[in-house]
Symmetry: C2
Subunit: 119 residues, 2 copies
């Protein structure tokens, strides 16, 4: 499968879709535009971000902000508070343990269940 | 980190380098040119291939050959015999459980230890 082809199926921002799995990890794609992701962390799970296209502002608590660009890869370690946003549309791939909740234990307007993340 | 920047550090073909980790998985990059990878499988581990640049011939036992292109993602399920090759240089990202041996239990001229796969 081609990631950019898969992205055509993603209709909504902040709505990760599961496209594959590897071992006990889900591979997801998502489109981000705006600042709707709340600060959150995943207590026991790292989260990998890969920028397919665009720029993503990665905020990590107590660290200097990072701007991730096309082709960049960044892993948020487990337990670390983070928040992502983008002014223009940004397309990302995520790799997360199957048990990972995409907004951690924080419930927000964008929070989706695993069912909602399946096609 | 940027994947294409990281690739500049990879000197040799068929020599995966660990660039990150997520949960119990290594993220590796590699350059492939030629047909030196033997048929092998990973008994208990899936293996994710992402094509950063180029074309990769993915052979799966008893399946039609696939040509993976830039931006394509493919997961070889555990236990499935496979072999990859490329006529021209192809750059890939791999995601594998830390315990995965890159040529399975097959020892070949290209087989590298985990130490050899670290910078």
């Amino acid at each position: 499968m081609n990631l950019k082809e898969q992205l055509k199926k993603v209709q909504n921002y902040f709505s990760p879709k599961i496209i594959s799995e590897v071992n006990n990890q889900y591979v997801k794609i998502a489109k981000i535009k705006g600042q709707e992701v709340p600060w959150h962390n995943h207590e026991n799970e790292d989260e990998l971000f890969y920028i397919i296209e665009g720029e993503l502002l990665m905020e990590i608590e107590n660290e200097t902000n990072r701007i991730l660009k096309t082709g960049d890869l960044f892993v948020v370690p487990k337990g670390v508070n983070h928040r992502v946003s983008s002014i223009k549309e940004c397309s990302i791939m995520l790799i997360e343990t199957k048990s990972t909740k995409h907004t951690g234990n924080v419930k927000s307007a964008i929070t989706k269940s695993i069912q909602d993340q399946s096609y």
